[in-house]
Amino acid sequence: MPASRGIRATPLHPLHAIFLAFALALFSSGLASDVAYLKSAAIQWTNFSAWLIAGGCLFGGLALAWAIVAAVFPGRATRGRALAYLAAVAVMWIAGLVNSFQHSQDAWASVGTVGLVLSIISTLAALIAAVVGYSEQRAEGITR
């Protein structure tokens, strides 16, 4: 694809970008509902969290698979940037997966300190992945 003056506006493939957008929205919403649960002890919030984090894992997993392929075949992208992106997505997804198990425990144990910390990690990692992945880049944008 021709890039004007070496700048590519959409470094991630649109579908890949959508997967990551879902993961970012779902993990961050999960964090918000975790906080709501810890402040209210109203069970519905942890139920919301469990589904939001499960959804984050689903879309995050698709983004992760794509990121792995992109890191192995970086194309014109720089490998360093592709790896940084991959690392952020991997941290997001692994913390999310562990958090899904955490959220399968009952009542307060479904969130507690561990669940909150894992939600924060997933959310921050998703934000970092989005900043890296959505930034305008030189011609050696991270991937197609």
Partner: protein, 432 residues
């Protein structure tokens, strides 16, 4: 097994790594059982004994007893009642289908636990079995009442048959000998049925027949559906037989799955299933006299004042009130049946005491329960460790059967055991 499953199994094993049982830890008997530290593992230790057929094998009883299959091909037999004329009633069904799946866990755990259950659909009926010639096989097996809603508890008092559906206590006029009831039952009282996470409604009548007792299980493991759905759950009701008026005599009694009257003292006793997911050896299920007005701890604490941190807000004032149960049966054995020997029982070591049907565990790697035990009593109180009475329900990692309700018939001196996996009622009798 392909590689994907091996990988999954390895991952599950890693997640459950700290969920191992300590072998040789005896959590049975009177007095405080040893209670290990709580374990909050990412994945609870789980082992489902998948079904295996009997293939000619039989449950085994102590020397001097024989076991026969009184009736087979039932539809999820749960609780049993022996009538004055020796006919045997079997409540068949499975409820709780309306409990909504609130989390991904509910779907996954439901799928996993279903692998240890029968594929047969519950009968929603009461079947009558008659073994008039006493050969150990029922020559008459007929549907007494059909169209019920997950019937479980049964009682017969003064010409009235009481059936505890999962949502209501029904009464049917009944003459012993009668083999069919077509009239609709009269509703004595509705029973709490919203969600019905624990749907079984256990039932027994007081010794003088004036009161009925109904055990109503909690609506969650430990409050994870919110505490507002736990109103009048984890309780035992006393119902006036003639008026239907009721009062709650015990609270915080997580899942009282079977009730029985101790014949020497006429006291009400219950077997109770305790909470899961605190580790393979927490919390022991128990057998206890149901003390009027007592609070047994659920969900705030277990075995007296052992606080469960999963419940918020916590209630120290409730924890302080919690009473200690009388007798531990072991963790996760899932006691679902209790019946006292009466009129001398089987004599000898089995003269005074209770038979307890243990459906068997899922929340521990070392399968536990899956048998009928005998709890010896003296002067109306437990007097020793439980003794295996009917075993052979396990075949390695597989289950041939899972005991539920038990019933001792003092007239014939037989013990009956409902098995809801192989859909059989077993009969244990002294060898001739």
């Amino acid at each position: 097994m392909n590689r994907r499953w091996l990988l999954l199994a390895a991952a599950a094993a890693a997640l459950q790594a700290c969920g191992r049982s300590e072998p040789g830890l005896d959590q049975t008997g009177s007095g405080k059982p040893p209670l290990p530290e709580q374990q909050h593992t990412l994945l609870p230790p789980m082992k489902i004994a998948t079904p295996a057929g009997w293939n000619g094998a039989m449950p085994t009883a102590p020397k001097g007893f024989t076991v026969t299959a009184l009736a087979t091909d039932l539809k999820i037999p749960r609780q049993l009642l022996v009538l004055p004329n020796g006919d045997i009633l079997v409540a068949e069904g499975a409820g709780g289908a309306t409990a909504p799946k609130m989390r991904p866990k509910d779907i996954i755990a439901g799928y996993i636990k279903a692998k240890g259950k029968t594929k047969v659909k519950g009968g929603n009926r009461v079947t009558l079995l008659r073994d008039a010639d006493g050969d150990g096989r029922a020559e008459l097996k007929t549907t007494l009442i059909e169209g019920l809603n997950a019937p479980y508890g049964l009682a017969f008092v003064d010409g009235q048959l009481y059936v505890a559906n999962q949502d209501a206590l029904l009464r049917f006029p009944y003459q012993p000998g009668q083999t069919r009831i077509t009239e609709k039952g009269v509703e004595v009282t509705k029973l709490p049925s919203r969600i019905n996470h624990h749907w079984t409604k256990s039932l027994t009548a007081s010794a003088d027949g004036t009161k009925l007792y109904v055990g109503i299980g909690s609506n969650s493991n430990v409050g994870e559906r919110g505490l507002d759905v736990e109103e009048e759950r984890a309780v035992v009701w006393e119902i006036d037989r003639l008026t239907g008026a009721r009062r709650t005599i015990a609270h915080g009694i997580r899942n009282p799955t079977a009730l029985a009257i101790e014949p020497r003292t006429n006291a009400l006793w219950a077997v109770v299933n305790e909470r899961d997911e605190l580790g393979p050896q927490l919390v022991p299920d128990y057998l206890t006299a149901v003390r009027d007005g007592a609070f047994y701890g659920w969900p705030y604490s277990y075995w007296g004042q052992n606080v469960d941190p999963r419940v918020r807000p916590q209630k120290p004032e409730m924890v302080a009130k919690a009473v200690v149960p009388d007798y531990a049966l072991g963790s996760h054995v899932a006691a679902l049946g209790v019946s006292f020997a009466r009129d001398g029982g089987f004599g000898g070591a089995f003269a005074e005491g209770a038979f307890v049907g243990e459906h068997g565990s899922w929340n521990r790697q070392d399968l536990s329960g899956y048998k009928v035990v005998w709890v010896p009593f003296a002067n109306g109180r437990p007097s020793g460790k439980p003794v295996d009475f009917v075993i052979g329900f396990l075949d390695g990692d597989h289950a041939r059967g899972r005991p539920v309700g038990v019933a001792f018939d003092p007239a014939k001196r037989i013990l009956l055991v409902a098995d809801d996996l192989s859909n059989t009622v077993w009969r244990v009798a002294p060898a001739r």
